[in-house]
């Protein structure tokens, strides 16, 4: 049994308690409401930028043509313009489908022994469903949160809120994306816990982001629907942060600081963890390169200079002698 999830679970619970104790008992609103969020954003930006710049130094010496589709060839062979694009537009389409719909995860297969004897491969769609649900719900929730950081709130955000509370359940209205977010995270966690093969390869660093995000979603949902707090004051605090006039309104409850502390942890942890796949996915070499090696020459820049002697040059040099010897030549 792999108990690595326990380390992560204990860590997230500890973070939860630190924020709670810090605010409720030690009265450190200033630390958890201002210092920690600013520090987290600085670490996030610094870490994110330096990691990307480091990656940007990587060599891209040639194109990777082995992707899943017929490449551009003779006119009468139909090219798969998205899976094996030869133009920038094709690459943009392939990247967009990859980033917005996780196309390669969609092709996920599972290998299993059937009745103990036959090896079968089957289509495994649930990871894709869970991942897509989580990422889109996360994106929607974070975008909706811009209402705490803008004043007046721009129209697209209010529109998104309207759409997200379409079913008008309860008061305050339930935002579907928040619920989907929590459900998808729980599913992704259970997948790691219950599937023996996935559990075997899961590390504490796989569970930690899941628990952290579950903690964030849970504290947010608690705050909106159950342990209410003064949302106008919460927005004042958030606005103070983004306008660099930080303030601590007194009526904000500790549940808000817990939420904020977990988000700060996520931000500070982000650049040093597997979550950097957010930046990395844009750099996927088998997805972001047009397969145009048959149209364009890609020279490896660190090749040592190779002295060449092409056939044309050879013929120029020996033409007379070749004609004398009766050998065929291209140019007379």
């Amino acid at each position: 049994m792999n108990f690595k999830y326990l380390y992560s679970l204990i860590l997230v619970i500890a973070l939860f308690l630190i924020a709670y104790a810090g605010v409720e008992m030690a009265g450190m609103q200033f630390v958890f409401g201002i210092l920690v969020p600013y520090a987290a954003v600085v670490i996030f930006l610094w870490g994110f930028i330096s990691k990307i710049l480091c990656w940007a130094n990587s060599a891209v010496p040639f194109r990777i043509p082995t992707t899943a589709g017929q490449q551009k060839s003779l006119d009468w062979i139909r090219q798969n313009k998205i899976d094996n694009p030869s133009t920038t537009i094709g690459v943009v389409v392939r990247m967009a489908l990859e980033i917005l719909t996780f196309r390669s995860l969609f092709r996920n297969t599972k290998m299993a022994l059937h009745k103990g004897a036959k090896l079968i491969y089957s289509w495994e769609i649930w990871l894709w469903v869970g991942a897509l649900a989580f990422h889109w719900a996360f994106f929607t929730t974070v975008t909706r949160h811009l209402r705490f950081f803008t004043d007046p709130v721009p129209f697209p955000i209010t529109l998104l809120e309207k759409a997200d509370s379409f079913f008008q359940v309860g008061l305050p209205l339930v935002f579907q994306s928040g619920i989907v977010l929590l459900a998808a995270l729980l599913f992704l966690f259970l997948r790691r816990l219950l599937e023996p093969q996935v559990r075997y390869i899961s590390l504490a660093a796989d569970y930690f982001p899941l628990f952290l995000l579950i903690g964030i979603a849970l504290s947010g949902i608690l705050m909106r629907y159950f342990i209410k707090t003064d949302v106008v004051a919460a927005k004042e605090l958030a606005m103070g942060l983004v306008t660099f006039q930080p303030c601590i309104p007194e009526t904000v409850g500790s549940i808000f600081y817990i939420h904020l502390f977990l988000v700060s942890t996520l931000l500070a942890y982000f650049p040093f963890s597997k979550l950097m796949h957010f930046g990395g996915v844009f750099l996927s070499p088998t997805r972001n390169q047009a397969n145009n090696t048959r149209m364009q020459r890609h020279v490896n820049p660190w090749n040592y200079p190779v002295n060449t002697h092409t056939y044309e040059e050879y013929e120029d040099e020996f033409r007379e002698k070749m004609i004398d010897a009766g050998l065929p030549v291209d140019k007379e």
Binding site: W55, N57, V231, V232, V242, L283
Partner: protein, 131 residues
């Protein structure tokens, strides 16, 4: 060869989007809302429940009111101090709008700031809002 130029362009776009609230708020004015208490509310001194409770939970109170009226027909609410209120959003003197008088000067002040737009007013009319 590497893709440094393209990557740095992408990074710059991301940084711009991430810090968008900062730029946005540079050009738009901000101030915390101050809901105006009507003369009537000032005279009454206290709300249906304590101020802290109202600030955080008035929507849930309204939800309970709505369900109580529509499902049981009971139209009077007694708060923990024994005071009685008209269990209504906008009908009668002792209702939310009856006492707070103006939706625009009171409810909307906070709601615009926090970007909430209760759909209640699709049906419940605020009589004083007509211009």
């Amino acid at each position: 060869m590497n893709d440094k130029k393209k990557i740095i362009t992408g990074l710059a776009i991301f940084l711009f989007l991430f810090t968008l609230p900062i730029w946005y708020n540079l050009v738009s004015a901000t101030s915390a809302p101050e809901p105006e208490l009507s003369a009537k509310a000032k005279a009454a001194k206290t709300c249906v429940r304590s101020k802290e409770y109202m600030v955080a939970e008035h929507m849930q109170l309204l939800d309970v009111w709505r369900d109580t009226v529509v499902r049981t027909g009971e139209r009077t609410y007694t708060n923990p101090d024994g005071k009685q209120f008209n269990m209504s959003l906008s009908t009668g003197e002792n209702s939310c709008i009856g006492c707070h008088v103006s939706k625009a000067d009171f409810c909307d002040k906070c709601h615009n700031y926090a970007s909430v737009n209760p759909y209640c007013w699709d049906c419940h009319i605020d009589p004083k809002e007509k211009k």
